[in-house]
Symmetry: C2
Subunit: 137 residues, 2 copies
Amino acid sequence: MTDTNDLMTIREMCDAFEVTPRTLRFYEAKELIFPKREGTRRLFTRRDRARLKLILRGKRFGISLENIRQLLDLYDHEGSGRSQYLRSYRLGQERLTEMESQRAELDEAIRDLREELAKGAGLFARYLDEMKDKSAA
Amino acid sequence: MTDTNDLMTIREMCDAFEVTPRTLRFYEAKELIFPKREGTRRLFTRRDRARLKLILRGKRFGISLENIRQLLDLYDHEGSGRSQYLRSYRLGQERLTEMESQRAELDEAIRDLREELAKGAGLFARYLDEMKDKSAA
DNA sequence: CGTTACATTTACGTTCACGTCAATTGCTCT
DNA sequence: AGAGCAATTGACGTGAACGTAAATGTAACG
């Protein structure tokens, strides 16, 4: 039903996600994604795209690929046993609290940075005043 | 006035920030911190501690040490010229918008993860019901 | 059917952020 | 003075996450 040309080539993937072919092959080798094959060529499915999106998101937060791999099992547990899923569920819970504390830290960092920039803006204002005085003289 | 034993040894620093001596020496080599010397030994100042705090915070968000080094100039521009400061000011602005968008992504990631965990909880509930049926049989 | 244009595999290279080990050096305690 | 213990420097090692080069395959085009 929702056909949208479900399969994408490696180049289409690279353009869509701004990664290199090497990266996609590397992720496949690490079992983070599982493209099908048309002969020797890779064909990436909707599932691969969903996983890749999560992978790149995780990377932005400094999560290692290995940890990301384990987290992916939470979102997408094709053919993984119940106990496997239970493990990844717990892991997901832990990761959630970590992310929440990271969010708190990020908020603090943003507040601090805003403050510093405000101070800096004050400095510039004074510099500009000095400049005006000079050009007026 | 605010004496609080301003200088700390490398061991005190390691204990306080949960890093290894190697890390502190590495950061010094990379010019992220500038401990004084008592003979050959390092003595870390209040300034070093402030910088180290920011360094570790930055690392949590996946910022590279080199980028962190440049950002530090914004918070602490000892003996750096005006144009240097202007550069780091702009850099700080850019970083702020990046952090804000990172925050948005993080919020989304947290929402998604919560949702997945909720789904998982539903699954477990059903499993538990099955277990109950079995033990009842 | 030859050449152009990608894709694949294999394997070695690279950068970052430290770890680890060895060889001093410098107190400090007895 | 000698023994012990922490700190320092220098050098090499390591794991993660790819980059890069070489050889090979294959699909399409004129």
